[in-house]
């Protein structure tokens, strides 16, 4: 039974620099990087050495403590460098790409004819598994668990996010095949949630045998966590798996062609990008070529992902494993005089969810150029009720955050830690008057839960 969910709470942050619907293909990046830090809590065990030749789809490392989970190279080439940090922790694996892309070829079989276990083991063996994430904990799914349902969000509502309708237009076959794969992974339902306000592409609406739900509302309506909470909430001891819509099509591609082709369309966005548009590139791609001639000034921050949950990368950094967009915004590392642009100024240039700034009287079409300044210093929680306004869950956000800060395991369990991921708190963190890093606190809480209760 499909559901339609209407959200009252939430916030759309109106930023300058949404991508125009123009797609350019850039040359294959010279270097790609797979960062173990993209897979939270995973310790890699290398299976290749520096200098070794790999093909696209060759397994390069596996989870040291859960060996069936393997990670593959998105390109063919040579392992350039294994970058290590303190205590020889692996920070990233750099792979220089070869002129001709070669793929690990596997036998093509129709998904329908495969058993559930065969599908699972194929995904594990091919390195496709990391695309499947799980709630609770928001980590790569543990294949041992039985998920009660699988969720795919057909749109991304975060600021400047790519439009999946555009990105996956015409990729019906791949996407369908990917959804067939997901159906094999659970005895429960596969939920595909589309934006109730926009017309969805046939890529999404033509998928058969899944629940197509609609959700209407502001961000975080497109977050899969919000959708799970309103459609099939996670209770203690239950698991729900999630896959990003573009990754569904990568999975589908593998099962159709027998090749791991990690191509994905990303949006190049942000106020400091001269010509925001879409780009076809590859997972882990070096962004230097992509950003060449696109950035307006030097003092900018390049983010792999969106402004709420993305990772800061350097101008010659690498696209994250799960990211569908690159955002470039100005750095805010300068003093702002309190009466003009600072804390007591009129603030027409600031986007605020509180009515202390005139944002609410400005027309909805007005878009903002926001920088990375925190606009204030961190304090203890003082203001109440503001987090609730942007948190469309039947969960008390401040109480849960406090339980996470105080390492209160019982409190976290009772207040709903199993249902949330740090990204669900991104808007809370954005609006917080006292500038507390709520996502980080929730992550620490989840880590504690992972070590004590899972």
């Amino acid at each position: 039974m499909s559901k339609t969910v209407k959200l009252k709470k939430g916030l759309n942050i109106r930023l300058i620099g949404a991508a125009n619907k123009v797609k350019t293909e850039v040359a294959m990046p010279k270097m790609v990087s797979i960062k173990p830090s993209d897979f939270h809590g995973m310790t890699p065990k290398m299976l290749v050495k520096e200098g070794q030749e790999v093909k696209a789809g060759t397994i390069i490392f596996q989870d040291k403590y859960n060996e069936p989970i393997k990670f593959s190279s998105p390109v063919s080439g040579e392992i350039e460098k294994i970058v290590r940090g303190e205590k020889r922790r692996i920070l990233e694996v750099l792979i220089s790409t070869s002129q001709n892309q070669e793929f690990e070829i596997s036998e093509i079989r129709s998904v329908e004819s495969m058993s559930n276990d065969e599908v699972k083991s194929t995904m594990l063996a091919s390195g496709l598994w990391p695309f499947v994430k799980q709630r609770p904990l928001d980590i790569v799914a543990n294949p041992i668990n039985e998920p009660k349902s699988i969720f795919v969000s057909a749109f991304d509502s975060s600021p400047l996010a790519p439009d999946f309708n555009y990105v996956l237009q015409g990729k019906n076959k791949e996407f369908n095949a990917g959804m067939e794969v997901l159906k094999k992974l659970t005895s429960g339902k596969v939920h595909l949630t589309i934006n109730g306000k926009a017309t969805a592409e046939s890529t999404f609406t033509d998928v058969k045998g899944v629940e197509i739900n609609k959700i209407v509302g502001k961000h975080p309506a497109g977050n899969v966590g919000t959708q799970i909470h309103h459609i099939d909430p996670v209770n203690k001891g239950e698991f729900v798996w999630t896959v990003n819509a573009q990754d569904v099509s990568i999975i589908g591609r593998y099962f159709l062609n027998g090749k791991y082709n990690a191509k994905r369309t990303i949006a190049l966005t942000g106020s400091e990008i001269k010509n925001p548009h879409y780009i076809d590139t590859i997972i882990g791609a070096n962004v230097a070529d992509i950003l060449e001639g696109q950035i307006t000034s030097d003092n900018v921050r390049v983010i792999s992902g969106n402004v709420l949950t993305g990772d800061k990368i350097s101008k010659d950094g690498y696209l994250g494993f799960y990211h569908n967009q690159i955002t470039v915004i100005p750095e805010g590392n300068e003093y702002k005089f309190f009466l003009t642009t600072g804390w007591l100024g009129l603030g027409f240039d600031k986007f605020s969810n509180s009515r202390l700034f005139p944002t609410f009287i400005l027309p909805k079409s007005k878009k903002f150029r926001l920088d990375t300044n925190t606009n204030g210093e961190e304090r203890a929680f003082v203001v109440t009720g503001e987090l609730e306004r942007v948190f469309p869950f039947d969960i008390l956000p401040m109480q849960l955050a406090k339980a996470a800060i105080t390492d209160d395991i019982d409190g976290m369990e009772n207040l709903g830690i199993y249902e949330v991921a740090p990204e669900d708190f991104a808007l809370c963190e954005y609006v917080c008057t006292t500038k507390i890093d709520i996502q980080d606190k929730i992550r620490q809480g989840l880590d504690l839960i992972a070590s004590e209760c899972m």
């Binding site: 944002t359 003082v382 954005y430």
Partner: protein, 404 residues
């Protein structure tokens, strides 16, 4: 402001760790962050942040209190003249400039002492803990003078402020950690430590009253109805009955605020302007304010239903306009740190606060100013209210498991 910014850049190295004046960093940081939003950038989590911060929030509350402050200064000046002349029937609006100056002469020192003592202690704790000034006291420092009687000795203001900041706040960890509202803690401290300077009929008007004149307030007079033997003051001012009371303090006077009382609390209109600012900007909680007024009104109606003497018969809407009720509802009960933190809890908290305020005011003639006691009591109860609201949320989500 470029020169100031340059100066800041020049001085900064001296104050950071390892600099010449490292110890003075909290003072430097406070000044610097007041003049300039600091150049801090996001390091983890979201890359952009809302423009709002605690400084702007607290400054808005201070701004919301300005109408009360200005009216309070004028009103203080007026009643000082009344006390001097020994005549309550002086025209309120005549001779305004002089009244304002008289009032300013009384009120300004109280504000200076309150901020001076409070901020000094805050800085002291800032140095001890190595952090800059937290903004909470900006509001408390203004609330304390506004809830004092005009005649309060300055040293008492200082002692009370010190007590409230240290015992009420800093020992719990500072801004955001306190259990009791700071300004009310100061007031309660004075009320119980120096009752003769905080209640009765000598303290509400600045300066010396002429012989035979009583500077009693509406509440003080009403409280005499509750005693077995009406005091001389009650008889003198009111004669007998509610009609005489209404002649002396009409509802309109109470709404306008041209009655004696604590400095900032008398004018309902000035308070409502403040309330509009707080609600318009979303800083104050509408749930708390509205339910506080409703709670008080309901208790007033209940008392009316029983009746029996003039105070019990006082129409319920009078209660909302006299004494510190409205001021407490708008500025004290809504303090987010000490109030209930859940949305449902706020309604319960506000309602019970208003309800108890009028109950204490009327039924206990020793504490006609029941509002501050009621709010302090509810401050203590707020975590319990929240506890049950949170449990409700937990139970609701546990039920989900059984139904699915």
């Amino acid at each position: 402001m470029k020169f100031l910014e340059k100066y800041l850049h020049k001085m900064e190295p001296h104050f950071i760790k390892g600099g010449k004046y490292e110890k003075w960093n909290p003072l430097f940081e406070t000044m610097a962050t007041f003049a300039f939003t600091p150049k801090l950038v996001t390091t983890k989590g979201t890359h952009i942040r809302d423009g709002v911060d605690l400084k702007r929030t607290m400054m808005t509350v201070v701004l919301a209190m300005v109408p009360c402050l200005l009216f309070g200064i004028y009103n203080t000046g007026h009643w000082a003249e009344v006390a001097e002349a020994g005549n309550r029937n002086l025209d309120f609006w005549a001779n305004g400039g002089a009244k304002f100056m008289t009032g300013l002469w009384v009120v300004l020192p109280i504000i200076v002492v309150s901020y001076g003592v409070g901020l000094s202690i805050e800085f002291l704790f800032g140095f001890l803990r190595g952090h800059s000034l937290h903004e909470g006291f900006l509001v408390s420092g203004m609330l304390i003078p506004l809830c004092m009687p005009a005649d309060v000795p300055l040293w008492m203001v200082g002692v009370a402020t010190a007590f409230a900041v240290i015992i009420g706040k800093e020992i719990f960890g500072g801004t955001g950690m306190n259990i009791l509202n700071i300004a009310l803690t100061a007031r309660a401290f004075l009320f119980f430590a120096y009752p003769t300077s905080m209640s009765g009929d000598k303290v509400w008007m600045a300066g010396d009253e002429v012989d035979g004149f009583t500077g009693s307030t509406a509440l003080g007079d009403l409280a005499t109805f509750m005693s077995d033997k009406p005091t001389i003051a009650g008889e003198q001012v009111l004669g007998n009955g509610l009609e005489a009371y209404a002649n002396s303090y009409s509802f309109l006077d109470s709404v306008l605020g041209i009655i004696p009382g604590s400095i900032g609390e008398t004018s309902l209109i000035a308070i409502l302007i403040g309330a509009l600012i707080l609600l318009g900007t979303g800083v104050g909680s509408f749930r708390i304010m509205a339910s506080f007024f409703i709670g008080g009104y309901v208790m007033g109606l209940i008392l009316n239903a029983f009746g029996g003497n003039e105070f019990l018969d006082l129409p319920a809407h009078f209660h909302l306009a006299i004494g510190g009720f409205a001021f407490g509802a708008v500025f004290m009960a809504t303090d987010p740190v000490t109030a209930s933190q859940t949305e449902t809890g706020k309604i319960i908290y506000g309602f019970l606060g208003g309800f108890l305020a009028i109950m204490i005011r009327v039924l206990n003639p020793a504490y006609p100013e029941g509002v501050f006691l009621a709010i302090l009591f509810m401050n203590v109860m707020a975590p319990i209210i929240d506890h049950y609201v949170v449990q409700g949320n937990i139970k609701r989500r546990l039920k989900r498991v059984k139904t699915t």
